[in-house]
C-alpha cells in the first residue's frame, strides 16, 4: 500500500487516492462532526478542512487505516473546538447543543423511521452524551479500520474512555426497558 501513497508521478496519483477515499469516508466524518454538536454549516466546514489538512500529512501516513484514524481524530478535535466556541457565544443554547442540533423534523415523529428505529432512537437518547457520540462514530467506521481508530481515539481522549462494550450494554438495557414499558 505504501506505493500508492507515495506516487511516482506526484500529485495526480495522490489526488486519485483521495478521490477514492473522499466519497467513502466523508459520510463518517460528517457523523463525527455532527455528533460533537455542530450545526450543518459548521460540520461541513470542519469536514472540508480536515481533508485539506490531510494533504500535508499524507507523506507521514503509511496505511489506509491510519488515514481513517487521522481524519476521525482531526475532525473530532476540531468539531469540539468549534462547538465550544459556539457555546460560548450562545450560552442559552447549551441544552440544545447537548442534543443533536438539527433543524430537521425531530426523529421521534419522523415519518422516515419505522417503529424499531424510533425505539432505537429513544434508547440512544437515554445514554450519556459520550456513549451517544461513541456509538454514532463507531457505527460508521469501516470495519478494517476499527483498530487504528480505536487506538487513536483512546490515546487522544483517554479520559473520555470510549468504551464500546459498556455503551452497547447500556443501549441494550435501555431497549429492553422501553419494550417492557410499552
Amino acid at each position: 500500500m505504501e506505493e500508492s501513497l507515495a506516487s511516482p508521478a506526484g500529485i495526480p496519483i495522490r489526488a486519485t487516492l483521495l478521490d477514492g477515499l473522499i466519497p467513502e469516508l466523508t459520510p463518517l466524518l460528517w457523523q463525527v462532526a455532527r455528533a460533537a454538536g455542530l450545526g450543518a454549516e459548521d460540520a461541513e466546514d470542519v469536514v472540508q478542512s480536515s481533508w485539506v489538512s490531510l494533504l500535508s500529512h499524507l507523506d507521514t501516513i503509511r496505511e489506509p487505516g491510519a488515514i481513517t484514524a487521522w481524519l476521525v481524530t482531526t475532525t473530532r478535535r476540531e468539531a469540539w473546538k468549534v462547538a465550544a466556541a459556539r457555546r460560548k457565544t450562545r450560552p442559552a443554547d447549551t441544552e440544545r447543543l447537548a442534543d443533536i442540533p438539527d433543524p430537521r423534523p425531530s426523529p421521534e415523529d419522523s415519518a422516515l423511521l419505522d417503529a424499531e428505529q424510533r425505539a432505537l432512537w429513544g434508547a440512544l437518547r437515554t445514554l450519556s452524551p459520550r456513549c451517544q457520540e461513541l456509538l454514532r462514530i463507531v457505527a460508521f467506521v469501516p470495519r478494517p479500520d476499527y483498530d487504528a481508530v480505536a487506538v487513536q481515539l483512546r490515546m487522544k481522549r483517554g479520559s473520555i474512555g470510549p468504551n464500546r462494550r459498556r455503551c452497547l450494554d447500556k443501549l441494550g438495557q435501555a431497549l429492553r426497558d422501553s419494550s417492557g414499558d410499552s
Partner: protein, 178 residues
C-alpha cells in the same frame, strides 16, 4: 495486535447488528449532504494545486530564422514557484514531435517529469540545472520537478532540512506553431 483494540474491536455477535442499525438510523435522520463529498474533492484539488503549483510568469515566441530555418517558431516559457524558477524552450522536431530544453534556477539536480495524457517521461537535470527532452509528443502536458531525495528514497526525511517541495506547472499545450 488485538491488545490495542479493547474499545472498538468486535465483541459479542449481536454488536455488529446493533451498530448496523445505528448507522441506518443516522443515515435516515441526519445524512451527510449529498454534495458534500464533491465539494470536499474540489477543495482538496484546489489546496493541492496551491501548495505546489508553479505560476506561469512569462511566455515569448521567437522568430524562427535565427535557429533552425524552419517555418516554426520557438517558444520560451517561464514558471515561478516559491523556491524555483523553471524556464523551458520548445522547438519543433522534423518528425512532428517537439524538443524541450529547460533550465532550473537556482540550479539543482532534480528529476523532471513530463506528464502526458497517457504516461510520464522523466529525465534528470544536471548540476547546472539543465535538462532536455529530445522528443515529446505534441499535446497537453504538465512539468513536475521533484527533489532528488523524494524519488530516490520516498519522502523518508523528517528533518525538513533543505527539503524542496515538488513543483508542478500548470498544464500547457506543447506546440511551436499556431
Amino acid at each position: 495486535m488485538s491488545t490495542h483494540s479493547a474499545d472498538l474491536s468486535p465483541g459479542e455477535p449481536g454488536d455488529e447488528n446493533v451498530l448496523a442499525k445505528i448507522k441506518a438510523l443516522f443515515e435516515a435522520v441526519d445524512p451527510a449532504p449529498p454534495d458534500l463529498a464533491e465539494r470536499v474533492r474540489f477543495a482538496v484539488a484546489l489546496a493541492d494545486l496551491e501548495a505546489e503549483a508553479a505560476r506561469l510568469v512569462e511566455e515569448a515566441a521567437f522568430e524562427p530564422a535565427l535557429t533552425r530555418g524552419t517555418a516554426e517558431e520557438s517558444r520560451t516559457i517561464t514558471f515561478d514557484s516559491t523556491e524555483l524558477t523553471i524556464m523551458i524552450r520548445i522547438d519543433a522536431n522534423a518528425d512532428g514531435t517537439v524538443r524541450v530544453d529547460g533550465w532550473l534556477a537556482p540550479a539543482r539536480a532534480c528529476r523532471i517529469e513530463v506528464s502526458l495524457r497517457d504516461g510520464v517521461l522523466g529525465v534528470e537535470a544536471d548540476a547546472d540545472g539543465r535538462f532536455a527532452f529530445p522528443s515529446v509528443p505534441r499535446g497537453t502536458v504538465r512539468f513536475v520537478v521533484r527533489p532528488p531525495a523524494q524519488h530516490a528514497q520516498a519522502a523518508s526525511d523528517s528533518s525538513g532540512n533543505a527539503r524542496m517541495k515538488t513543483v508542478i506547472t500548470p498544464a500547457l499545450v506543447l506546440l511551436t506553431a499556431w
